[in-house]
Amino acid sequence: MDYETLMQLLASTLRLGTPLLFACLAGLFSERAGIFDIGLEGKMLMAAMASAAVAALTGSAWLGLMAGIYAAFVMAILHGIASITFRGNQLISGVALNFIASGATVLIAQAMFQQGGRTPALSGTARFSAIRLPYAEQIGAIPGLGPFYERVLSGQSILVYIALACVPLTWWVLYRTRFGLRLRAVGENPESVDTAGISVVRLRYIALVITGVLCGLAGTYMATALQAGFGREMTAGRGYIALAALIFAKWRPWQALWATMLFGFLQALALRPDVIEGVLHLSIPVPALDALPYILTVIVLAGFVGKAIGPRAGGQPYVKER
């Protein structure tokens, strides 16, 4: 494998890892607050459809982003109503919302555009286009890390940079703010937060709103930057892979970045069977490559690479003592 191919692979890794990173950070906020969210997938799908539809109608990717965030926000609130207010089963609520998203996205897209449940192909300002970072050419000439800057970091869409910026931001919110402290506490020991006179319900709803916003970004990125429009089931299990990355990262933001980029790298590899053949000198069937991220997820979950212990109060509805 030559240097050029490696740069292509890494650029593709960053592109494919970005929706996973958004979704992983989304899951981080809800799970740190003690709410399991299997429904990342559905939120992303809804956001992808809403953003592509609005971007197609208005020709503005930014308005599409607003719509995507709003759609995922609504889904997050539904999850909150079921799992916080009515203390329902969080796993079942997430699964249900995923099915609702699978059905509703196609229904709405079909009703709006009559194109077999897809949205029209987006182009021009309706998509988030590539941004050239400053001095890309000059820095690219420097041997070593220069080409990495020019070919991998530069030339991505604005949403990729937002995703990368979300990592230190999440770290700061989680570990350096009062809100973050309370958020972590509510996922570990909600009674103590309640005793301190802070509303558990309110905190958990805020966490879910953040989850919704981040899933909205993930879905919008899928439909308006990574691809040009919405197609049915276009998220293809990314919400679940993000959950696995979250467990791999042990619910910490910086580790989430590395975990999602690893999964992104695997997805990038699956698209380039020629590279694998060139390096390993054996041909691997394409379905095996497709299954690779899922297999790795299983291995990660089984704790063969470090033991992961989640927030202690995760999955349990909070019942105030009477």
Binding site: G88, I100, G103, L107, A111, P287, A288, V298, A302
Partner: protein, 375 residues
């Protein structure tokens, strides 16, 4: 919260959940410019209006009984098996291998062998996540979901690269021999007076009914069933009573996967006569809705499977004859899961006021009769 009488919890809660889900679906149909009344008419007419429609409804219901029972058995052990879809597809692989391995001469010889193949493959596909959950503490939900994706990739590989006969374009196994074809309801003496046309519903339907009885016997009349239910109620109490958590998780998931795999004798052997890509067509996921709607009881599962068979066949007809896309089925399925599984407390709160009066009267009667209950 007022405690509801048992019958209200078992019957009223699912029925009201269904009404809510149907109402929201009707609103969605209106919003996308369809006519809900016409949609219901098309659904009822297409699924129940003729023996031919019933033949499809019962065919789908048969698959959903198996997957619903599968989810039920795991649920009683506190395990949420979302992997029914992958287990059903692997079960289909087992059926195909058995049916292609021998030149079967009679269906009643091929059927038991195919059932064993289906159950073994389905159970094996559930067994790996179960073992990982029991021994390594993996999250059963996420692992079983991952196994759905892995199963899909595996089946694609096998159909395209290994099992496809040379010269055939579509990814599928060769057709099974005539001796491995299950008789449809139209072939059975007596029933052929009703089902005069060829229908996909076949003898598997009766096996599904037997499976309902079997699961009931297992869960409520056997030692293992007791252990499963005890573990599902409280794993710490069950462990204290000497019940092995590994045994319960493994046994319940293996049975669950076996049942999900068994559905493949209905679609792969009974209908298609060969293994196709995505043979289970989402039936594994519908099993979740069926189990929740059926309150995780075999009788409830049977009734809920009939209902979903109707919705599935009716939905297909609706997609064909109206401008409402077939994906409405997915929405309805999601809504049923949401209301019966996650918002069941809300539904209970909605109907609780109607029972508060009765509960108070009951208490007064008891108090008047001596108040022994109060002690």
């Amino acid at each position: 919260m007022t405690k509801l009488p048992k019958w209200a919890d078992m019957v009223l809660v699912p029925v009201i959940s269904l009404v809510l889900a149907a109402a929201i679906s009707a609103v969605v149909i209106l919003l996308i410019g369809g006519d809900p009344v016409e949609a219901v008419k098309v659904m009822v007419d297409g699924a129940l209006g003729s023996p031919y429609g019933w033949g499809y409804t019962l065919y789908y219901a048969t698959s959903f009984i198996f997957t619903g029972l599968g989810v039920t058995v795991a649920y009683h052990a506190g395990q949420f098996n979302i992997g029914g879809e992958g287990q059903a597809q692997l079960g289909g692989l087992g059926v195909a291998l058995v049916c292609l391995a021998f030149p079967w001469t009679h269906w009643w010889m091929a059927l038991p062998a195919a059932m064993i193949g289906a159950a073994l493959f389905g159970a094996a596909w559930a067994g790996i996540p179960a073992w990982l959950a029991a021994k390594r503490g993996s999250h059963i939900v996420i692992t079983t979901i991952m196994f759905n994706y892995i199963a899909a990739a595996l089946i694609v590989y096998l159909l395209v690269e290994v099992m496809r006969p040379t010269g055939q374009m579509d990814p599928a196994t060769p057709r099974f021999g005539a001796g491995a074809a299950l008789p449809g309801l139209h072939d059975l003496p007596g029933l052929n007076l009703i089902f005069t046309r060829k229908v996909p519903a076949n003898v598997t339907f009766f096996i599904a009914i037997l499976a309902c009885v079997g699961v009931w016997l297992l869960l409520w009349r056997s030692r293992l069933g007791y252990e499963i239910r005890a573990f599902g109620q409280s794993d710490s109490a069950a462990r204290y009573a000497g019940i092995s958590s590994t045994k319960v998780i493994m046994a319940s998931m293996l049975i669950s996967g076996g049942l999900c795999g068994l559905m493949s004798i209905n679609n792969v052997m009974g209908e298609a006569g060969r293994l196709l890509q995505n043979s289970s067509e989402g039936a594994g996921f519908i099993g979740i809705a069926v189990a929740l709607m059926g309150r995780n009881h075999p009788l409830g599962v049977f009734l809920a499977a009939l209902l979903f068979g109707f919705l599935y066949q009716g939905g297909a007809e609706m997609g064909l004859w109206t401008n409402i896309p077939i994906e409405l089925r997915l929405l309805l399925q999601g809504l049923v899961i949401l209301f019966t599984g996650a918002l069941d407390n809300m539904v209970r709160m909605m109907i609780a006021p109607f029972f508060r009066g009765a509960a108070r009267r009951n208490a007064q009667d008891r108090a008047a009769a001596g108040g022994v209950d109060g002690l």
